[in-house]
Subunit: 133 residues, 4 copies
């Protein structure tokens, strides 16, 4: 994500004030979007019925996508929209990680997905903290 | 949206419990997503500098899209993720409506967009209320 | 979608030239996006293993979403991008309809989804025709 | 994107057959989605009227997002849908790169965006080649 870092550096009027935390959040959210999308697809190919896990992965992928989009726009934004979106994404990541961890021993894709969700939740928490200050 | 209503009726295990309020929310969010996308494009074609309005329209369209996606999945979901997402969408709609109303007299596309945002915020509020009860 | 029609009418510099066909395409694509998302969720709740159908529904929902976004921007666009996107969406709709029709007798949500996909493919075909002329 | 690589490795039934080319395509598309979103936002903050460039960036971001989503699902897919989607993305990337290169000297964010678009188009071309063979 070196290029995105340079995009943020060359923006004429950056406004978020979240700096490196914004870059970490968008990077983690983009990865988590892809990993959750892929985990849902892998779960579809399992013998076991994974409906609950698939739903949580799909919801989490959608929330991560919107965080990635919003944080990629470093111009002036409505801060409360951004904060609430980060909160929704944190919750989606936690719910998905809780579910995936429950069968991480049997399915490695769920183990990887859970770690990606935890990292994304952490990055969104740090960005929320940077916005408040 | 008759077909979506029938999709909800024929779902084997609907879980949201939000019923008609869910259908209203997804219908309003889908419309608002398209109208905000279109308003941003119309604003780009204006002589005046509309950067602020365009940003709020783009953010609002993204939040409306995620509400439309989540609520279109009536199976069991993490309720807190859904509630937080609705809250983020409500805020994005209000911020966009506030901005668009400021130049509704000069630009009819902004007047229409503001009404679409208010209706979507209202529908999301009602769905939130239905989830809590 | 009366409001979207008025958005198109009040756009300062509409460029697609597709007129009513553009409005029909975006309306059909938005419905199909929601119906396919909902059908995938309903399929997850079925006893039978519906992995193939779910994948086709998810892909179709994603393509319909991008058609809805692109066509909602009536300003000047790269015509070839729009044409190729419509072609991809038409194919995704046909593949999903073919699959859903195969079990439309047993599952009403698939019967509804197949009709939504066929209508969306038709609307995209008509818009493609309008662009060429 | 080490985690996504491991997701692909641990998928129970990978079907695309595109291997490393699939991973390169999804990585390039995810980056280009973020960079184009960010370039549109930076263009909004410029003194100059950048409407054309912003529109092409938004369309390109949407096509890159759908490529990232589809290729993140390595299970069996409709190959023609995937090929047509890659074609649409290639075209969107080329149109956006052509425009951004036109003012790359004056605006560094456009120079970076053009390179991201060219890399994404190349990665999609290679994946298309891998699918055909």
């Amino acid at each position: 994500m070196d290029r995105l870092a340079r995009m943020f550096d060359t923006h004429p009027e950056p406004a978020s004030g979240a700096g490196d935390d914004a870059l970490s959040a968008v990077t983690a959210a983009a990865e988590c979007m892809l990993v959750c999308t892929s985990c849902a697809d892998a779960c579809l190919a399992e013998e076991a019925k994974m409906a609950e896990c698939i739903r949580l992965c799909l919801d989490c992928a959608d929330l991560c996508a919107v965080v990635a989009k919003l944080v990629s726009r470093p111009g002036h934004q409505d801060r409360e929209t951004l904060e609430r979106t980060l909160e929704a994404c944190i919750r989606a990541c936690e719910a998905c990680a809780d579910e995936c961890e429950g069968h991480a021993d049997a399915m490695e894709h769920c183990a990887i997905c859970a770690r990606s969700c935890r990292d994304c939740a952490d990055a969104c928490e740090r960005m929320t903290g940077a916005l408040v200050n």
